[in-house]
């Protein structure tokens, strides 16, 4: 039986982070979920819009929400944390302010009921796993020490998102445990990686990413696990911009949570897009410790 789920991939998943899309689709397919894209979706505008124009920063996500509800979607899976944040924050702001909602509906010239709810990738996976046991689907336990990195926008602002504990979230850690990995306790789970400065201030991204990588390695992690394309590209593509890294720091790979789960479910590396990373993903097969 296949289950259908609304899906907003966002631009990164169609471009530089296509392996997040590939691995998400592969895992969902394995779990019997069909992802249905919001018809003719547009970019959410990300940081650029809300840095420059408030009305636009609400209108771009509003068009997406309106299209989703027009297609009858009750929930929309939004894997990119930045898109997720823009969609949730817009929906919240418009729900709190009727007059503003009317103005934005007027700008986009669409009906806006706000009844399609954006969910992040962890919530989408949870939904797909309802009634199933992830543990029982694992064919190749992911026997590594992993550092789960949540970044900013998956947990903040907690007042609006109401997802996990803002200072020490555990949802990704628990999911990694269920596929056989050993999540480490570390200090940089929710620190910022520099997000939108990837191109315009690469120096600042390097400065913010260095302690994240260093702490993960120091505490014994063999891979970083992320759920956001911008975190992934800052930690992976921008690794070469970080100066003075040790051998281990230069080589620790950054996997999307969907790639990590996909490996455990026995999905082919290529179908998970592991060959697309700049920091090579060389995780040798290993028996579960103590098994």
């Amino acid at each position: 039986m296949t289950m259908k789920m609304g899906f907003y991939p966002g631009c990164s998943l169609k471009g530089s982070s296509r392996e997040f899309n590939e691995s998400l689709c592969a895992v969902m397919d394995k779990l019997g979920v069909e992802l249905e894209e919001v018809p003719d979706w547009n970019c959410c505008g990300a940081t650029a819009a809300h840095n420059l124009n408030h009305a636009l920063s609400l209108s771009l996500p509003a068009r997406i929400l309106a299209l989703a509800e027009g297609a009858g979607m009750q929930e929309i899976a939004v894997p990119c944390s930045a898109c997720y944040s823009r969609l949730v924050m817009t929906r919240h702001e418009l729900q709190e302010n009727e007059a503003l909602k009317a103005e934005i509906a007027d700008i986009i010239e669409m009906d806006l009921a706000l009844n399609a709810v954006p969910i992040n990738v962890i919530q989408a996976l949870d939904r797909a796993l309802e009634g199933a046991s992830l543990e029982s689907l694992v064919v190749a336990p992911l026997a590594y020490k992993v550092a789960c990195y949540y970044g900013c926008l998956m947990v903040r602002p907690p007042k609006v998102l109401r997802f996990d504990q803002p200072e020490d979230p555990m949802t990704m850690d628990r999911m990694m445990e269920r596929v056989g990995a050993e999540p480490i306790d570390w200090a940089f789970k929710v620190e910022c990686c520099g997000a939108g400065f990837s191109v315009s201030r690469t120096d600042l991204v390097a400065k913010l990413c260095k302690p994240i990588v260093t702490d993960a390695v120091k505490r014994g992690a063999e891979a970083l696990i992320v759920a956001c394309p911008m975190c992934q590209s800052n930690l992976d593509m921008r690794r070469c911009a970080i100066k003075g890294m040790s051998e281990a720091e230069a080589h620790i790979p950054v996997l999307y949570i969907t790639q990590a789960i996909g490996l455990a479910l026995g999905i082919d590396r290529k179908d998970l897009g592991l060959q697309r990373h700049l920091v090579k993903v060389a995780l040798p097969r290993r028996a579960v410790v103590g098994a």
Partner: protein, 190 residues
Amino acid sequence: MSSALHTVSATDTLAGRVLHDTGVAVAECYQCGKCSAGCPLADEMDITPSQILRMLQLEMPELDDEVLRSHTIWLCLTCEMCYARCPKEIDLPKVMDSLRAESLRRKVAHPKARDIIAFHKSFLDSIRTCGRLYEILLIVAYKVRTRHLLQDLLMAPKLFVRGKLNPIPELIRGRSHMARIFQRAQRKDG
């Protein structure tokens, strides 16, 4: 004319403007400094986040001007750390949004923020024309705007062989709808 987006009425002080734009009353801040302590880029900023609030509280034209000319407002990453930790639940990232908009309106943005603003503008150009982000166009438009022609181009071949750069843009059907949204939103926001 009154508007939920608060675009027309001129408020006397910047604190008034911020209240009008965001609903945040800067007077609520009791200067505990927690926001500045947790801000990932506080040490790069010319004025710390809590100092920005203090300056707004004083409601003096010279200080307002200094805030709008600061590098800080452009360095804020909207990481939401300050808002998450503030004991008074002051939505500082939203205040920063409003300050950036005002800084652009008055044409006083910090010279060092040029690259950041150029990047945001190039990003929006791509969305206005394609509906989605076209990464190659973004990089090229940004390079032309800033004249940093070489930086990053070295990266392109590496991404290309890994299938990470889309040679053709994704064009949505509703492109004229997007153009209209941009126009109408800009009219509201100035």
